[in-house]
């Protein structure tokens, strides 16, 4: 059972937000949805969950459109930055209502998470700080019996301790009860070790749709004297450059053409996901 997004296009007024986005989200995997501010990540997540409607294109689960389809929408939960819970209602009542709407809710686990995050379920939603509103929504996201959990900025307002706790709980619940998580965040370093596959959105289009390991296996930093580095990387897909005096570092994404001899003064090292993302989305090269 996979979610297939085909040729999604969305405009707000004259502004094109998404332009022919196509991707597939498979069961039981952890995805990262990355993109700069305004790239269209939240819009895409809202379209997938039928909260807003695309101008063109389709979202299907096993070939059936999710549009106005309660059963399919009931398999998806989107935790978004937007607060859609009523402020005057108590958290424990919201847990109960979510249980009714989704046909299930792991109350034992919710209790454990409330204790771990020190969240009092007797409080009203409106009484919570930004961080605790995020925590509340994360608890719901982790306790619902859905197949797909979309987390849009899941660490908004969370301190370092709560972020660590959230990552731990996410991995624990994923290993005990595998399902798909799609995490959209700017804190790439923090989720880099967790995600298996990454989508990078840039200017409303998918720039990268690849497994993280495969992607990083093609991402290199070539450092050394400027001239030698430039000679060695000539013809390669250079996505970024940094210089310090005579030393230069070229960021390369793609095959290195390993048959060539590596000059003694040149060093080749791996790039991390955050650096790769920064260089891919700063207009320095191509992701494909």
């Amino acid at each position: 059972m996979e979610i297939k997004i085909s040729e999604i296009t969305k405009k707000f007024g004259k502004k094109q937000i998404l332009n022919g986005v196509s991707l597939t989200i498979e069961p039981n995997r952890i995805y990262g949805l990355l993109g700069r501010n305004g790239a269209g990540k939240s819009t895409l997540l809202n379209i997938i969950t039928d909260r807003i409607f695309a101008n063109d294109g389709t979202v299907t689960i096993d070939g059936v459109s999710t549009h106005e389809h309660d059963e399919l929408l009931g398999k998806i939960y989107l935790m978004s930055e937007v607060n859609l819970y009523q402020k005057r209602v108590r958290l424990q009542e919201l847990f109960k209502a979510s249980k009714i709407m989704y046909g299930g809710f792991d109350e034992t686990y919710a209790k454990h998470l409330c204790e771990a995050f020190e969240l009092n379920p007797k409080l009203r939603f409106g009484q919570l700080s930004t961080g605790y509103r995020t925590i509340f929504k994360l608890i719901i996201a982790l306790c619902l019996p859905v197949d797909y959990v979309f987390l849009d900025e899941p660490i908004l307002g969370l301190d370092a301790n709560h972020r660590e706790l959230f990552y731990k709980e996410l991995l624990d619940t994923y290993s005990s009860h595998p399902r798909t998580f799609v995490i959209s965040t700017h804190m790439i370093e923090e989720i880099a070790n967790m995600i298996e596959h990454v989508f990078v959105l840039e200017n409303g289009k998918i720039l990268v749709d690849d497994d993280v390991d495969h992607m990083l296996s093609q991402a290199y930093v070539i450092t050394g004297p400027g001239e030698t580095v430039d000679q060695y990387t000539e013809g390669l897909n250079i996505i970024g450059t940094e210089s310090l005096g005579n030393l230069k570092g070229n960021y390369v994404f793609g095959s290195l053409n390993d048959d060539r001899e590596i000059p003694d003064t040149v060093q080749i090292s791996r790039m991390d996901l955050q650096k790769l993302f920064i260089h891919l989305t700063s207009g320095g090269g191509t992701g494909k």
């Binding site: 809202n46 969950t49 039928d50 909260r51 807003i52 409607f53 549009h67 106005e68 389809h69 309660d70 059963e71 929408l73 009931g74 398999k75 998806i76 939960y77 989107l78 930055e81 937007v82 607060n83 859609l84 819970y85 009523q86 209502a97 979510s98 009714i100 709407m101 989704y102 046909g103 859905v146």
Partner: protein
């Protein structure tokens, strides 16, 4: 399946609202007059249960409750959308709940009026319906009972649809835009009324009078209560149908805002 869950959840909250509204109304009808009498006269001499039981605010309060609770559609709407419910399902469940609550309130109001108010008011039956339409089906006709309940049901339901319409329309805009629109509409209404008051003599408005007479079931007669109730009943049914359709369209265009 989901429609049933949403319906039950919405109904639970609406019934709670109906209960609190009636409770509050009874407090207003019975307690406030006693308190005010005591405050202003220093005694409770002028107060009697017999007089208090002649008060009837229930139909007015029902209209108010249904209008306001339907106007506040956006809160529940966004909650259901957050919980994986489609807009169409929320709309369908809302129709069910609103129609049921209107019917329930119509029945309660009818029962309260004929079991409490009328016996204490010397059996004088002067409901709005009876004054306008009470003789049309025959004064003692059994059919006046369902017709009156049905008439009030549709009337309440119509106000709920109007409330939903304005609530949905409001939710389309941001707070500031909403305020500007409402102010513009109010000023526009005042200007139109002022215009009509000044120039109506020079205009031929006979057709509007005819249309209004038709809509309310006016019949040219000297007797009281002989207007045709089926005209307004038909008009309200059409209005509910069309209004509910417009509300569906509006709700399809609602944007989920962080407010």
């Amino acid at each position: 399946m989901k429609t049933k869950s949403v319906f039950k959840n919405k109904l639970k909250h609406s019934l709670k609202g109906v209960g609190y509204t009636y409770l509050l109304t009874l407090v207003v009808m019975f307690v406030l007059p006693v308190v005010f009498t005591f405050l202003f006269t220093g005694s409770l001499k002028g107060v009697s249960l017999h007089n208090l039981l002649q008060n009837n605010l229930l139909p007015f309060i029902s209209v108010l409750f249904l209008f306001i609770s339907s106007y506040r559609i956006y809160g529940p709407f966004k909650f259901y959308i957050q919980n994986g419910i489609s807009r169409r399902t929320v709309w369908k469940a809302t129709i069910g709940v609103v129609s049921l609550c209107s019917l329930l309130m119509s029945l309660i109001n009818y029962g309260y009026y004929y079991m409490v108010v009328v016996p204490n008011a010397g059996n004088v039956d002067n409901t709005f319906y009876n004054q306008l339409f009470g003789q049309f089906l025959g004064f003692h006709s059994f059919w006046n009972v369902p017709a009156q309940i049905f008439y009030e049901w549709l009337l309440l339901w119509s106000f709920a649809v109007i409330g939903t319409f304005f609530g949905s329309l409001s939710a389309l805009f941001k707070r500031r835009t909403r305020l500007i629109i409402w102010l513009t509409v109010l000023i526009g209404i005042v200007v139109v009324i002022r215009f009509l008051m000044q120039f109506h003599t020079a205009m031929n408005l006979d057709w509007t009078e005819d249309v209004i007479k038709f809509l309310v079931g006016y019949t040219k007669t000297d007797g009281e209560g002989l207007w045709n109730p089926f005209h307004p009943i038909g008009v309200m049914m059409v209005a509910i149908f069309v209004g509910t359709g417009i509300n569906y369209w509006l709700q399809q265009h609602l944007i989920l805002k962080n407010q």
